[in-house]
Symmetry: C3
Subunit: 273 residues, 3 copies
């Protein structure tokens, strides 16, 4: 049951090292705290090996990457692998610039992250070496729909097999796949795309979940994705008159804070294919 994955986070309170963008970092930290983890941020090459070493997992988000933070990603990625810590890669904007594409592809190939989470444009860029990324948002032409679902499930499984990672492709329909299994998840709300960083938050949360659930990573990723989508549904339901995207941001993190295993198990909408 997915709720168990949340309970494991709450019990073990995993410490997660985040090398992430400065746009959404505060929300990432509060989202990790909300679900029961403990975030620490550090991106200085001279600092990160020590920080990675005291943590249990690593979240690499290339959102506002620069030469210094890329160097830190390599050091922390390598150290995590030495220590057997799970690593998540969020290839923000892969396909939108050569630096982002190349950095994400190299991290995928050399660090071999345990989970790769992105929108369909970013994941296609990693999988196919191309894509039509429009900024940091997915291109409409790439979207997972009921019509192309079968093909997208195969794509996700194949990419998972090839990369060795659990692959989470998030959008209106979310897919979480390893080589054999694909969770098709229908939680979430379109309003979430009008808030900056819901994807980054999900990556931080997912890194926390896999750190607390090392022995069943695919299920843990699916639990994190369902929880984020469900929190979006609850957040929208709780919106008061005159509220908009800024208040919704708070209400989603609040919903994660108040989430329990039972709520998650009842609210999760997924099928396993």
């Amino acid at each position: 049951m997915l709720g168990n994955c949340l309970e494991n986070v709450r019990k073990s309170m995993p410490l997660v090292h985040n090398i992430t963008n400065y746009v959404t970092v505060n929300d990432v930290a509060n989202a990790i705290l909300a679900c029961g983890g403990s975030p620490i941020m550090s991106d200085e090459p001279d600092d990160v090996a020590d920080i990675t070493s005291i943590c249990g997992g690593l979240n690499i988000n290339i959102g506002t990457l620069n030469k210094r933070t890329i160097e830190a990603m390599w050091i922390s990625g390598a150290r995590s692998k030495e220590l057997g810590h799970p690593v998540l890669l969020d290839p923000v904007g892969a396909g939108a610039s050569a630096l982002r594409t190349n950095t994400a592809v190299k991290i995928m190939e050399k660090i071999k992250p345990d989970v790769i989470r992105g929108n369909i444009s970013e994941i296609k860029t990693l999988a196919l070496g191309s894509g039509t990324t429009k900024g940091v948002d997915a291109d409409a032409a790439d979207t997972v729909t009921e019509d192309n679902l079968e093909a997208m499930i195969s794509f996700a499984k194949n990419f998972a097999a090839k990369s060795g990672a659990v692959v989470a492709i998030t959008g209106a329909i979310d897919l979480v796949a390893d080589a054999e299994t694909c969770y098709v998840i229908r939680n979430g709300r379109p309003e979430m795309s009008r808030i900056t960083g819901t994807g980054c938050q999900l990556s931080g949360i997912t890194a926390t979940y896999i750190t607390a659930n090392p022995d069943h990573k695919t299920e843990a990723v699916a639990a994190a994705v369902c929880m984020m989508g469900l929190a979006g549904e609850i957040g929208v339901a709780n919106m008061a008159e005159n509220e908009g995207n800024s208040s919704l941001r708070n209400r989603i993190i609040d919903a994660i804070y108040n989430m329990d295993a039972e709520t998650l198990d009842h609210g999760a909408k997924y099928e396993v294919r």
Copy 2:
């Protein structure tokens, strides 16, 4: 009508590249999303030419500038000009340090931004090569008032003529001027100065507006300034008991999210001089 400018943003959903400070960047992103644009942040010299190229406009904010981000500003500014993209300069803290003053003056002279938006101290620093900037807030001695309004309108038009930019001077009374026309805007609330980054948000929004309204930039800037001020009025009106500046920050962005053309046209308080 100013409302048309907002509708053009909502229809075209322009992608805007922001090189901005890390203090208020999250609110800038959410404010751009709230008004209907799509923000992307990147400040690594090796990344920014690609990012600028996929965007429609550029917002340069020097709030927490450093050597790396200044280099990125130059690259993106030049690339924007090559591509004919509109560029906005927010000279945060010009007058407060030599680096800020010199950087802002050089960007003004070499990049020739389409819009310059700042408080009166920052704009005077750019216009006159001096000023009495007190940190990142305007000095009281410089303020635009009903008493000096005539002179300030002339100052704004002259600076617009000299710089070739639409000039937005924001404060208790806002002025938006090109060489011939000046919008005198009386929207807004004093409480907005107790929230960090309402000026930065306005710059991000204004960059979004001029990207979506390339053929009538002065009006587009006036529309953005009126909308921000009106959102401040709505935000304050919506405040519940015990709320303060942090909740007001959310309520203002929420008001932008819920703004429509009719509300903007009815609520905008301006005269054209």
Copy 3:
């Protein structure tokens, strides 16, 4: 009376230079604005001497330190001392990495900050050259409790005497000590540890308080610590149904915004030992 310290902040509106981490910087800025100060952030070595010079106080927070910002800390620290400005050090994560420990110890020894504020693990690292810092949060084994209170008060006074700084150790029980006097403060709520950056906010506020109250720094630090804890109590009391850590973050800053001297004097729970 502690309320006077708040009134002095509100009257003098001190300008405070912050070199602080990018995770919680927006909340630090809004918290300083909420209590009546005016924040400016700058961390570029070529910028900071000018910015420090126009400010009245300096807040150094090593939360996401890097080589560039460390250089800025040295420049601003030295300039503050030349100008007689008060300096606060927040040794975020001291004990968690060699870079953090060494940087914090060196700043303590060379800059001689007026106030050092951290959790018990960080302070023990500075005082004893060791500690059991678990990430950026205090280790449970180190906590100040009613049982070890006498010993911890002595520890705080001794470290204050040795370092020459007012020492603020914050946790379930807060201690604010100089060589002779220790405020034992019992304001605050456990929920505050589920929000990122309440400690960073307190450091920014404390730097603001000592800038506005240069002649009675220990009392000013105690006033800041009581106010933050009381704001946490008020924030939790004001929470509505379905709210969690993200809304609480706003409610705490709102409570600071609405705090007056009388509320602070009535709500402060402390004894002087």
